[in-house]
């Protein structure tokens, strides 16, 4: 199968072309999965995966190393973070659906808090909350994705977002406060 040029797509995306992102997501998804599956086959079950190494390996395989610029790797981690969010949400939905024996559950935030099945519902609640946050502040959503799903440090996230580490740190704190409030961290709900 011919594969679209990931290097070019990363460049397009970093210049603000959102269509490039929708083309990148499944490519990065497929490659991460291949790399993860190979590592899991190679290693014993008790051996933990090395996430950064995995993403880096996928990056090396997908991106033309002769054309690498300093931002490419950071942007690749940004795409990987969004892929991870989708995977976790999909996984949570499926497992929730299996247990109830019917289709995809639609759970509101309040229902999610009431039923509180800790391993699956919070991911969906977080996903819904992030969708709401995205409508008012897309930058904050990105930083949560990068930190929570992408495994990036403040400095790395700042690099991907093109902001200073101090701005990233402030935004991360703001995003956490927003999510805490939204999702009932105060114990009353």
């Amino acid at each position: 199968m011919s594969s679209p040029d990931v290097t070019a797509l990363l460049g397009d995306w970093s210049r603000g072309n959102s269509t490039a992102l929708s083309q990148l997501l499944p490519l990065v998804y497929a490659e991460l999965r291949r790399v993860a599956a190979r590592q899991l086959r190679r290693e014993r079950a008790d051996h933990t995966l090395q996430p950064t190494a995995l993403v880096h390996e996928a990056y090396i395989r997908l991106v033309d190393q002769r054309q690498v610029d300093w931002q490419n790797r950071a942007h690749f981690f940004g795409v990987a973070a969004q892929v991870m969010r989708r995977i976790l949400v999909d996984h949570a939905r499926r497992h929730g659906a299996n247990k109830r024996g019917h289709g995809v559950p639609c759970v509101s935030i309040d229902e999610a808090k009431d039923v509180a099945a800790p391993n699956e519902i919070p991911i969906l609640a977080l996903d819904h909350a992030l969708d709401r946050l995205d409508k008012v502040d897309a930058e904050l959503t990105r930083i949560v994705e990068l930190r929570a799903f992408g495994g990036l440090t403040i400095e790395e996230a700042a690099h991907v977002l093109g902001v200073s580490p101090s701005t990233a740190k402030r935004d991360w704190r703001t995003a956490k406060a927003w999510l805490n409030r939204e999702l009932g961290a105060d114990g009353r709900s």
Binding site: S22, P26, A37, T52, L88, D90, V104, D137, D186
Partner: protein, 190 residues
Amino acid sequence: MAQSRTGRGRAIVTKERWGRVKALFQAAVDRPIEERGAFLAAATGDDSGLRREVESLLAADTSDATFLGRLPIADQMIRAGQGGAGSSAAPAFEAAMKAMTEDAAPSMIGRQLGSCTVHSLLGAGGMGEVYRARDTKLNRDVALKILPAAFARDTDRLARFTREARAVAALNHPHIVTIFSIEDTRMFPS
């Protein structure tokens, strides 16, 4: 932007309003707790709604029991993150990787989809995965292109997938694949 309400009765603010709330929150949170009240009173004037909004965020900032902390995947990240910047969120990543491989394609092999039995993975690309399969009713080998589950709920992508199939089905050429059918299976692995 229309205002809607969350289940807790709080209005979702507009972008413009949120910009104000965010700026005030970030300015207030850098100040000592005892100075925040006076700062907010001066900054918000008689807009008590704005003040309450910022105060609710400040309260969530100081809360120990963070919601993210209740997320198993984010647990270690948040605890490590309390001390400052630079913590790793590896547990989340690892959970995603494990989920990804659990949900992974090899489980497709051996499955029955309609009249087809899936035999092997031929390749994967931007728009899906292609499997070799056997149509046991018509006794012929077919290729099955499947949109990964993680993307099948993306309505735009699903529409593009269908559009691609229709476009190719409209063509008749020895070097272009013949489309036999397009099906919605919505499988959930057991």
